[in-house]
């Protein structure tokens, strides 16, 4: 009866992420103060509070409706800034990949994340090492794919993705920023973790919590 990832578990993912963003809002804003404009935590929290409010009102009938109409559209209209478009783009592309499905199996889910990642790269004109959210997301998607290909279950694969995302996030600290506001700092961006990478690592960790437990 369908895959391991479904509308309910995806909604749980979003709610978990929203909770983690709220809990880490101040940290994210502090990171953005050091090399940006001190609004990443505020922006993300404003957006995900609105997403949760929307989730409370709607019962999305399929994945596309959930991730496009509820999540992506809300983010697009409430977050603003770079992260708003990029997170919205990410979820929008996953929604497109999911089509009218109510659930996805592990490999289809991984494929959808890959598609989302690539759309982010395209929208942001960003590559590995630019010191952005991409540097946390890309290794996470790769680890997920690798683990699933090696026969791991979704839960274990997402745990490995979380480790990879955290490592990717930490690896942004020594990088010289080439995209986003941090790039204006030149050499002075070195030594600071990228705020978008930090929120992206929270997103993967939330997936491990919400989707991993669901699939056992």
């Amino acid at each position: 009866m369908g895959g391991t990832v479904n509308v309910e578990s995806l909604a749980r993912w979003i709610r978990t992420f929203a909770r983690d963003i709220a809990a880490n809002q101040d940290l994210l804003t502090r990171l953005d103060s050091a090399i940006g404009d001190a609004d990443h935590g505020v922006n993300m929290n404003r957006g995900f509070e609105a997403v949760v409010a929307a989730l409370d009102k709607h019962r999305p009938s399929n994945i596309a409706v959930l991730l496009r109409d509820v999540v992506a559209t809300t983010l697009l209209n409430t977050v603003g800034g770079a992260a708003g478009v990029l997170y919205a783009t990410f979820f929008l592309r996953i929604a497109v990949a999911a089509g009218q499905e109510r659930s996805l199996d592990d490999l289809a889910f991984a494929k959808a994340l890959r598609a989302g990642l690539e759309e982010v790269a395209q929208r942001g004109k960003v590559a590995a090492g630019d010191k952005t959210m991409f540097d946390a997301l890309a290794p996470a998607v790769e680890a997920l794919e690798g683990a699933l290909a090696g026969g791991a279950g979704l839960s274990a694969a997402l745990r490995r993705a979380t480790v990879a995302a955290d490592a990717g996030r930490d690896a942004t600290a020594p990088m010289l920023a080439r995209k986003g506001r941090a790039s204006y700092l030149g050499q002075r961006s070195i030594g600071h973790q990228d705020p978008g990478a930090a929120s992206a690592a929270l997103l993967i960790a939330a997936a491990a919590t919400a989707l991993g437990e669901a699939s056992g």
Binding site: I35, N77, G80, V85, G180
Partner: protein
């Protein structure tokens, strides 16, 4: 945090209410946070939309009116507006002659305007975009944005076509350079503490307009020296001698009083004079700010006869007004 505000989350909406109340020549869509010329869409005229994070007032809303913008989209403080806002504005002001998006070069602004333009294209609207990147340090859009909006706005008011107006905007962008200095940081209302710490003895050179730290931290210096720090990279980046002179613009970051801006303008004019750059026009004041940050930016724009005529053309907005 010492601010004349109520709830930090409501700052932008409440300030827009104040703008609406103070300026009968504007129409404010509170829902979408868009400021319109009351008479937009203006029949036959290419329409100009700009927008960006709030906290840079009078930019952009203060530049809506005859001879400048048709609409300005206000984002949250230092956060770009969202595609839907921009799309709404684009639709509302289009008078059939097409719409120009004037976008400051920040990832967020560029991507949000890009998405809005894609959506607009789906609705068969004709949209061109010009990205302003005058900052010599980081190619961000800073002071020159004001001059682009004024000059392109005048071109549109003259009845030029969308591609001609876009060309004017691009010409201004190509011929202008800016550089900024901060003496203090600023505090995003929703954050409640200064974006960065700047000791009493230091200043930040090469800042943008979002309270972000600059490229370099240096000890405070006399105005004469600061003017050199700002102008040297500008003059190194582009040749401003010859032609019909330049438009020189000394802009305050929000917390610096006018007396200091005029003093800085004196230094800037002196250096330009010594460098063989002729000042044809000037602008001194706080027009593109970073909340209450103390500091200033200097913009130099190479002008030809056409640009000067467009600069001199009438403009009737809340923050810039002359002619007719």
């Amino acid at each position: 945090m010492k601010k004349l505000i109520n709830d930090p989350a409501g700052v932008v909406a409440e300030a827009l209410r104040g703008m609406a109340a103070a300026h009968p020549g504007l129409r404010v869509d509170q829902q979408n946070k868009v400021i319109y010329r009351a008479d937009a869409p203006v029949a036959g005229k290419v329409a100009l939309v700009s927008g960006g994070g709030s906290g840079h007032e009078p930019l952009h809303g203060g530049f809506v009116g005859l001879g400048m913008l048709d609409a300005a989209c206000a984002g949250e403080v230092f956060t770009s507006p969202v595609p839907d806002q921009i799309l709404q504005a684009t639709k509302a002001i289009d008078a059939g002659a097409g719409v120009l998006h004037i976008v400051k070069n920040y990832s967020g602004d560029v991507m949000n305007f890009e998405m809005a333009a894609e959506f607009a294209a789906e609705s068969a609207l004709e949209v061109r975009s010009v990205v302003i990147d005058d900052d010599v340090v980081g190619r961000r859009g800073v002071g020159l944005t004001v001059l682009v909006e004024k000059i392109a706005g005048a071109a549109a008011e003259q009845g030029r076509s969308l591609s001609e107006v876009a060309d004017v905007a691009r010409k201004v962008n190509a011929g202008g350079r800016s550089m900024g200095v901060a003496l203090t940081s600023c505090t995003v209302p929703a954050v409640g503490r200064p974006t960065f710490e700047l000791p009493e003895t230091d200043m930040e050179i090469g800042i943008g307009i979002h309270g972000e730290p600059g490229r370099q931290r240096l000890p405070l210096a006399p105005a004469k020296q600061v003017a050199e720090y700002l102008l040297d990279p500008i003059l190194a980046d582009l040749d401003f001698t010859g032609g019909d002179g330049v438009i020189a613009f000394v802009n305050g970051m929000g917390g610096t009083p006018l007396i200091e801006l005029y003093l800085m303008y004196h230094e800037v004019a002196t250096i330009l004079g010594k460098s063989g750059v002729r000042i044809a026009r000037s602008l001194v004041g706080s027009y593109i700010t970073s909340l209450e940050m103390a500091g200033c930016s200097v913009t130099v724009l190479r002008a030809d006869d056409d640009l000067l005529k467009l600069w001199d053309a009438p403009v009737h907005t809340a923050a810039l007004r002359w002619g007719r």
